[in-house]
Symmetry: C2
Subunit: 238 residues, 2 copies
Amino acid sequence: MEYELWYWDGIPGRGEFVRLALEGAGIPYVERARGPDVDDNALVDDMARDRPHPPFAPPYLVAGQLTIAQTANILLFLGPRLKLVPDDEASRLWAHQLQLTIADLVTEIHDSHHPIASGLYYEEQKEEAARRAADLTAERLPKFLGYFEAVLERNPDSDAYAVGAALSYVDLSLFQIVAGLRYAFPKAMRRLAPGHPRLLALHDLVAAEPRIAAYLASRRRLAFNQSGIFRHYAALDQ
Amino acid sequence: MEYELWYWDGIPGRGEFVRLALEGAGIPYVERARGPDVDDNALVDDMARDRPHPPFAPPYLVAGQLTIAQTANILLFLGPRLKLVPDDEASRLWAHQLQLTIADLVTEIHDSHHPIASGLYYEEQKEEAARRAADLTAERLPKFLGYFEAVLERNPDSDAYAVGAALSYVDLSLFQIVAGLRYAFPKAMRRLAPGHPRLLALHDLVAAEPRIAAYLASRRRLAFNQSGIFRHYAALDQ
């Protein structure tokens, strides 16, 4: 069985958290809505299909008979299969809890440039975005990043990883959070760096994992840009 | 083992989705941060404890040695134990996927009165809230409620429930969504009612379940009010 990933072409977005897990485990997968031979409407058409378990939004993963949506749910499903989470129930719930907190942070980062409506352009809500982004960088990022720093510090099984004694999908997602925030909010991240040494070390550790390093150097890895979740607007990084 | 629920006193909030599952299954639980004998700082003090698996935010559930946070994660854990989800993995992933989509909707509802910062009062962001709430009622509620209506329509195992052939925690949460939206946005919900007959019928079906009916009539059920996720401001329901 081959995993099939459905996600918007052209942006890393939420699909990237799934890609990093598949790439980190060295598991082949097919991008069904990306590539030169894919019709531009493939994803929209597939979303419109009459299926018993419809996704509300991409990303979704097709694995044999299953179609699974919601990023954290996909990782809950893939984690044991890719050996990217410990075996016991307590650790799996803990990893998933962290992934859901990452999902909350991702939403807050998205909403910092789209605080009014995801259906409007940034330019139609940039005054509100300036206010929300100021709160994000001053209040919310310190709270979330401080939380993940404490999680790394308190992990009794490792000095480096978030869950258990080995690399998990949570670590791969935290790498993407740090990378994305550095792209979107370079000034804020320079200010926050000294207080979060474990989180930044985890970023570097993940980037140096051989499979991830090869992936990051490949054309499969999409660059951050001005259409995704992590966007850089100088006005929002004061 | 007795389940212990930690959540802010005085608001239904996200804790209510957990309460409805426990009440719907007839399982006793202890509210650790609510009641006349509970210190006002109990929750804040407990959150500050140095534990290996800290919650980022309430609600969290203590079940023996486990402390589990994130509403959907708590329901993922409780579902099989309370017999509020089918046994097979595909159904459990599907139920959890729906619960995560409900969680996304809950965040959007919250942000309609707090689009700029959760740390500010509504009165400090009410102009932005008017814009965001207009988008919520015109664009987002039809999209989310239409999705859940389609889920009910397409369920091959039931004409009434969302997942499988019996009551699940997803149904209990959808009840709370409809009830909360009717409190917060009565005009919008009257407008949306004709297009969502299955969802409204599910609300009534859940409300009439004997254990839920008894709970709703009890003092354990907290009324919606102006401090929670579902708030009624006439200016936001135009």
